[in-house]
C-alpha cells in the first residue's frame, strides 16, 4: 500500500524532527538534513535511527 501524502506530511525524522520525502522508487524516506534514508520494508517504514542508511 503506497504511503499516503497525508501520512508523509505528518512524519518527521526521529533524529532532527525535520521533514522527510520519499525516495524515487518509494522504498525509503529521506532526511536531507541528517543525510539518512529510513527504509520501507514490506510496506512498513522503519523509523529507527540505528537502522537508517546513509544517503548515497
Amino acid at each position: 500500500m503506497a504511503l499516503s501524502p497525508e501520512l508523509l506530511d505528518i512524519l518527521a525524522c526521529p533524529k532532527c524532527k525535520g521533514d522527510l520525502h520519499l525516495t524515487a522508487p518509494q522504498d525509503g524516506l529521506v532526511c536531507e538534513a541528517c543525510k539518512l534514508v529510513y527504509p520501507i520494508k514490506d510496506d512498513i517504514p522503519i523509523m529507527l535511527i540505528d537502522e537508517a542508511k546513509p544517503l548515497a
Binding site: E6, L7, I10, A12, P14, K17, D43, I44, L48, I49
Partner: protein
C-alpha cells in the same frame, strides 16, 4: 543512549519477536469487547486521526480503522507489525498504516497532528513512562484525547513489588506495573486533564498466561511458587487463588482517558 535503555529495548524486541504469534492470539489481547471500550472512549468520527503507541499486532488500530478517518500504529518490534500489516491487507483496510519506531524515544511525527493517541498494556514495559506520556501529548492537538490502558499494581509498595517480581520472572521485558495513582499522576504531569478512569478485573489463568510468554520452565516454576505463596500469605493484592485446581490471579486493568489542554497565552 544509555546502555541500560538500549539493553531494555533489545529485551523488548527479543520477547515480542518470540511471543509475536502467541501474543497476537491471546484471548485477553484480542477480546473485541475490551477493544470496543477503548474505541468508544475516543468516540472517533469520520475525520479523526488516531495514533496507537506500541501497537504490536495492531488489534486496536485495526478496530479503530472502520470508525475513524485514519489510524497509525507504531511499535519497536518488526515481528508483530508484520502480523498487523498482514491482517490489514486481509481485511482490505486502507486507512491504517503501521510504522516501526522507538516509542520510548522521540516519536517520528510532527506536533499536534493527531486527534487521539492510544496505548494499551504497554506502559509497564517502559523505563520512562512519563516521557512516553509527554510524547503522546506532544503529537496530539489541543483538545485531543489520550487513552492509556494498563494493569495497575497495588497501592502498597511492598505488595506491588511482590507482584512485579513474578511478572518480571515471567517476561523479561516487563519493567513494572504502576499503582493506578502513579499512572494518573504521570498522565496529568504531561499537561493533560484526566477525564475518566475506569477499572475492571481480568481473571488471569496462570498456565495460559505463562504459555503466551513462553516462559522457561525454571522461571515458570518460580512464578508458580510465588503465586502459591501469595495464596497462603496474601502478598501481592492480586487475589491469587485456585479455581477447580487451576491457579488464577487478577489483573486489575485501568483505562485512563485524558484531554490535551490548549496552551495558555
Amino acid at each position: 543512549m544509555p546502555n541500560q535503555a538500549a539493553e531494555h529495548k533489545q529485551l523488548i524486541r527479543e520477547e515480542f519477536t518470540r511471543q509475536a504469534d502467541a501474543f497476537a492470539a491471546s484471548p485477553t489481547i484480542k477480546n473485541p469487547d475490551r477493544i470496543a471500550i477503548l474505541v468508544d472512549s475516543v468516540n472517533p468520527g469520520p475525520t479523526t486521526r488516531v495514533l496507537e503507541i506500541a501497537t504490536g499486532p495492531g488489534h486496536i488500530a485495526l478496530a479503530f480503522a472502520p470508525r475513524c478517518g485514519e489510524v497509525v500504529g507504531i511499535d519497536l518490534t518488526a515481528a508483530p507489525l508484520k502480523i498487523a500489516e498482514r491482517m490489514r491487507a486481509e481485511r482490505g483496510i486502507i486507512n491504517a498504516r503501521f510504522i516501526q519506531g522507538d516509542v520510548e524515544g522521540r516519536l517520528p511525527f510532527e506536533d499536534d497532528e493527531f486527534d487521539a493517541a492510544v496505548c494499551r498494556f504497554s506502559f509497564h514495559h517502559f523505563q520512562n513512562p512519563a516521557a512516553v506520556a509527554r510524547e503522546m501529548a506532544r503529537v496530539c492537538r489541543a483538545g485531543g484525547r489520550l487513552v492509556v490502558e494498563d494493569i495497575g499494581a497495588s497501592e502498597h509498595p511492598e505488595r506491588a513489588a511482590y507482584h512485579n517480581r513474578f511478572e518480571l520472572l515471567r517476561d523479561t521485558s516487563h519493567t513494572r506495573f504502576l499503582p493506578l495513582s502513579d499512572l494518573i499522576a504521570i498522565i496529568a504531569a504531561a499537561g493533560l486533564e484526566i477525564s475518566s478512569v475506569r477499572t475492571d478485573d481480568i481473571a488471569n489463568p496462570v498456565e495460559r498466561w505463562l504459555a503466551t510468554s513462553y516462559t522457561p520452565d525454571d522461571k515458570a516454576a518460580e512464578v508458580r511458587a510465588m503465586i502459591e505463596r501469595d495464596i497462603r500469605e496474601d502478598l501481592s493484592g492480586t487475589d491469587a487463588r485456585r479455581i477447580n485446581g487451576e491457579l488464577y490471579f487478577t489483573h486489575r486493568s485501568a483505562i485512563i482517558v485524558a484531554r490535551k489542554l490548549a496552551p495558555r497565552a
